[in-house]
């Protein structure tokens, strides 16, 4: 495989990563928080306290911060790369990378918002109050 083929493959993998990072990070975040919340409540870990903070709340906040920064970071990367292509000369061969970067930056942005908003209710109630 030539060097240019290898570079092209790496570029494609980066594009796919940027394209799908937002939803995939959200999916992992969501599953982790759900498991922590529901399974944690079932296991009774809310009865432990770390510096007066419920471990489920603490876990959700930490996961939210990590996930939100991850999607935000990938989104900003996508934006920077997209802007370089967008401001550059019109090149039809760059249409698809631009498209994937554009979609990637908006998906990452959207899921950053979703991640942050998902954690907001944590601020307002007890994690394991059973309804």
């Amino acid at each position: 495989m030539t060097q240019s083929n290898t570079n092209a493959d790496v570029q494609k993998k980066r594009l796919w990563f940027i394209f799908l990072a937002g939803p995939v990070i959200y999916a992992i975040y969501f599953l982790t928080v759900y498991v922590l919340g529901e399974f944690g409540c079932l296991a009774g870990i809310q009865h432990f306290n770390f510096w007066g903070i419920n471990p489920i709340h603490l876990g959700v906040v930490l996961l939210t911060v990590i996930a939100a920064f991850a999607t935000l970071g990938v989104g900003l990367t996508a934006f920077r790369r997209w802007r370089i292509l967008h401001k550059g000369a019109e090149d039809p061969d760059m249409d698809d990378p631009k498209f994937m970067l554009f979609v990637g930056l908006w998906l990452n942005g959207l899921f950053t918002v979703v991640i942050v908003l998902s954690a907001v209710p944590m601020l307002f109630g007890s994690a394991c109050d059973w309804t």
Binding site: A27, F30, L42, F99, M100, V103, L110, T131
Partner: protein, 871 residues
């Protein structure tokens, strides 16, 4: 070189397609002899048995759609009967039991046998044309999918003949659907009859995904892909996750019912709420599996009749992907009253509201497209507007029920019935009608009557709102769902009567549609090409579409190939490097059009930039998928009645069918194919595509991973719901046997890796040794687990822990046995000399399977054997 190695345009190999621009000019001359040759190669086999053996995408797609519509009519009749019962309070038109059966069958039929199959039928018919290729990647899988669907549906409805009609709702909550409260056959018909249909849906989903990713026309890059392709791509992936979940959940419930496992029995450590989780992990994405392809149809139809390009293509793609992922994060909103922790509920409430954002993006994109355009009010466009109005109203009520306190008031009331009918009829059925009017000329060569169509639309649309709007009100007044009657004078009668009248109006509208179809088939206006002056590739073929789709595959250079001059302009207008690239590709496509003469050739292209990568042979007609399908049905049907000998017979028939289906029909490469490869630098695979095979193995692994994840989820859900683990003082299992098994699995994977490496260098004998070693090690791993089960001191029915232990272990054995079977047949075929350094795809995908098996083993064996020591 043989004298027939004459490639390139010539009098012998003229172009064949008729391509029209938006203003109706013909660009390439029609009806050249090549069409006749392609017609022969791609023809459906004749005669009675030929009907069963046929597997061309248009034939299969049409059959699936017709069958799904028939189920739609059956479901509609049930709805009419229920509405008639609810016309008056304390009516005795139907008994309570019959009413329960009808709402179960109505919901199940519409959700499992109409909506998803109808949309998959559209996909199978349309996608090769829309994508600019000739066929789906696995025609035999599509054929299997059709027969499994129709036979599964017949099995499901045969419950009426046996007086065993399912009656526990389309969601079959435990414990009502469990062995204690639903004795007898009805729920077995539900679980096993629909289980077959689920298998069909998964099969079609896998094929759709691969077609879209790897079988687009050259030049149809991701950014030029039609929105309907994006919609079906995300849907196909969703189907793999969601329907697998239902399959596993159904399996677990059927095991509870038939052999006494305790997954959902709280008295034995199981969890009734677990069923709800599993069902709705499927159930909520299921509605988006229906909605998303419908939006794809709307995105194709709206620009044509608005006479304006789709506004916001990029944003619509973003919305589709976001909707797909978010839809898996909503399921608990069906369980807000089930008694879950607040953290879970608030989480799902937020996601349920956030999904309105991508939906709203699409709505504004369509509205903008219409506002910027000059609409032509065909019947299809009427249905588009009807969809917009109705779906938005349904979406608003959906946001309302996403708010937990509001949902607590309206859960299980008619407000929810109104909501989901607004989104499912408005959001799915109206687009289906629009699509039927729009694509009917492509299917049949005739237009549906616009005059009758307008009557059809207005009756359906008006009838719909008359039926379902009052349900919002009566739901807020307190009328519960699924009640066969109500007290007279309670204030609900007038709303129910209005709804019933509306239902009859809908029925009249649907009847008009049926009349329109039959009249148009017989004497409708004939069309020969692109009657709507549309922009997408399916209208570039002859009408009705020929079996082979495109004689010469197109090169796509824009999102709107038939509207843009770019797609047919002279190549000297392009930049030099693109011109050279296009000339090379066009030369290849012209040669492909004129050849081969003996087998069905299709093209794979790369995922992002749609460069041609392979020419390969797609499967031809065969009876074996039908045999396989019949075997599967026999297994499921026999299990309903617990006729285990017949179940075994069905299993044998299935295995025989699978062997026949996959029996290699080896074709040697000819000099002409070698010359084609040399000239165009594109490999030719007359024995199947390695790319397509690897993708299919990848999707299979995804499916098995989903199954494993669901079992593990169930295991830990039950574990954490329980105090002590394992239950009833059962001792944790020994780690010696699983340790041996782990080493064996690793060794098997290593042996497969080695075998694959050897055959890649042409070392056939070494490959056989590797395969044999892999088989031995794999058999040791399976043997270890079987031995363990034989000596565990508890039966599967003792408690939930025992049920999980047995089930997860047997599932792991099944994974190993699947790998061993594939290995064995690969070994057999290797002795027939099937594999070379260049063609050894069976060894390649076998190795991939065993690498993945390491992960499956660690996950499942770790859960079963190691977790008791940790928890």
């Amino acid at each position: 070189m043989a004298k027939d190695l004459a490639f390139g345009p010539s009098a012998e190999h003229p172009h064949a397609n008729t391509v029209q621009t938006g203003d109706g000019r013909n660009v390439i001359s029609p009806e050249e002899p090549i069409n006749e040759r392609l017609e022969k190669i791609w023809a459906d086999p004749p005669g009675f048995t030929g009907w069963f053996r046929a597997l061309q995408n248009d034939a299969l797609g049409a059959r699936i759609m017709s069958t799904a519509f028939a189920f739609f009519l059956l479901g509609g009749i049930m709805a009419i009967l229920m509405r008639t019962q609810l016309l008056w309070g304390e009516s005795e038109f139907l008994s309570p039991q019959t009413f329960n059966e009808l709402f179960t069958m109505h919901g199940s039929t519409m959700m499992y046998l109409f909506a998803v199959p109808m949309l998959e039928g559209f996909a199978i018919f349309l996608l090769p044309f829309v994508l600019g290729n000739r066929e789906m990647p696995f025609p035999r899988l599509g054929q299997f999918s059709y027969f499994t669907f129709v036979l599964g549906g017949i099995l499901f409805f045969s419950s009426f003949l046996f007086g065993a009609v399912p009656d526990a709702g389309w969601f079959a909550y435990v414990p009502l659907s469990g062995p204690e409260y639903s004795r007898g056959l009805p729920l077995d018909f539900w679980l096993l009859g629909l289980g077959v249909a689920e298998v069909a849906a998964i099969a079609a989903g896998a094929e759709i995904a691969i077609a879209i990713v790897r079988m687009r026309a050259p030049g149809m890059t991701l950014s030029r892909m039609p929105v309907i392709a994006w919609a079906y791509l995300v849907t196909a992936i969703m189907i793999l996750f969601a329907f697998t979940t239902l399959l596993i959940a159904s399996l677990m419930l059927e095991l509870d019912r038939k052999i006494g496992t305790q997954f959902f029995n709280p008295a034995a450590g199981g969890s009734a709420i677990l069923w709800q989780h599993l069902f709705w992990i499927f159930g909520h994405p299921e509605v988006y599996i229906q909605f998303i392809p419908a939006t794809g149809m709307i995105s194709m139809i709206t620009p044509v009749f608005a006479r304006h390009r789709l506004v916001g293509y990029n944003y619509i793609v973003i919305a589709l992907i976001a909707t797909a992922f978010l839809s898996f994060a909503l399921w608990v909103h069906h369980m807000f009253t089930a008694g879950l922790p607040q953290v879970a509920m608030s989480f799902f409430s937020i996601a349920s509201i956030m999904i309105g954002i991508p939906a709203g993006i699409q709505i504004f994109a369509w509205i903008s497209t219409i506002l910027f355009g000059r609409p032509i009010w065909t019947t299809a466009f009427h249905y588009v507007v009807g969809f917009l109005v109705t779906f938005v109203l349904g979406g608003i009520s959906g946001i309302m029920v996403g708010v937990v306190p509001f949902d607590w008031q309206v859960h299980d009331s008619y407000f929810v019935v109104a909501h989901f009918h607004y989104v499912l009829i408005g959001g799915v059925t109206f687009p289906i009608f629009a699509a039927l009017y729009y694509w009917f000329p492509l299917f049949t060569g005739r237009r549906l009557s616009e005059r009758v169509g307008k009557w059809n639309f207005w009756l359906t649309f008006t009838g719909f709102h008359i039926t379902f709007f009052p349900m919002h009100i009566v739901g807020l007044l307190g009328m519960p769902r699924r009640v066969y009657t109500y007290q007279p004078g309670i204030g609900w009668e007038i709303y129910n009567q209005i709804s019933t009248i509306g239902a009859y109006i809908i029925a009249a509208g649907v009847l008009l549609f049926i009349i329109n179809v039959f009249r148009s088939l017989a004497a409708g206006e004939k069309v020969d090409s692109n009657p709507w002056k549309a922009d997408s590739l399916e209208w570039a073929t002859a009408i009705p579409a020929p079996n082979y789709g495109f004689a010469e595959l197109p090169i796509v250079q824009s999102r709107h190939p038939l509207w843009d001059e770019q797609s047919i302009r002279q190549e000297e207008e392009l930049e030099e490097h693109r011109r050279e690239k296009n000339v090379a590709i066009r030369s290849m496509l012209q040669d492909l059009a004129g050849w081969p003469l003996t087998w069905r050739a299709a093209l794979t292209t790369s995922a992002i930039d749609a460069r041609p990568t392979e020419v390969f042979r797609v499967s031809g007609p065969s009876i074996w998928p039908v045999v396989t399908s019949c075997g599967v049905i026999l297994m499921f049907a026999a299990e309903i009645f617990t006729l285990r000998t017949l179940v075994l017979s069905g299993a044998v028939a299935t295995i025989v069918g699978l062997i026949g289906w996959h029996w290699p029909d080896h074709i040697e490469s000819t000099e002409r194919e070698v010359e084609f490869e040399r000239k165009h630098n594109i490999p030719v695979y007359p024995n199947g595509s390695p790319t397509v095979s690897r993708w299919s193995m990848g999707l299979m692994i995804l499916l098995i991973t989903t199954c494993c994840a669901l079992f593990v989820f169930s295991y830990f859900y039950i574990t954490l719901s329980h105090g002590a683990w394992p239950m009833d003082n059962i001792a944790p299992p020994s780690l010696i046997l699983p340790a041996i098994g782990t080493i064996a699995v690793l060794a098997a994977a290593a042996a497969m890796y080695w075998a694959n490496q050897r055959i890649a260098r042409g070392e056939l004998a070494a490959m056989r040794v590797g395969l044999a070693l892999a088989f031995i090690f794999g058999a040791i791993a399976a043997g270890v687990l079987i031995y363990d089960l034989r000596q565990v001191p508890f039966a599967h029915s003792l408690n939930a822990y025992a049920s999980l232990y047995w089930t997860l272990t047997i599932f792991l054995i099944a994974i190993l046995v699947g790998g061993l079977a594939q290995n064995l047949f690969t070994q057999i075929w290797s002795w027939f000399g099937r594999y070379t350094a260049r063609e050894h795809v069976a060894v390649d995908i076998g190795a991939i399977y065993w690498y993945a098996t390491i992960g499956f083993w660690l996950l499942l064996a770790g859960t079963v054997y190691v977790s008791p020591y940790i928890l």
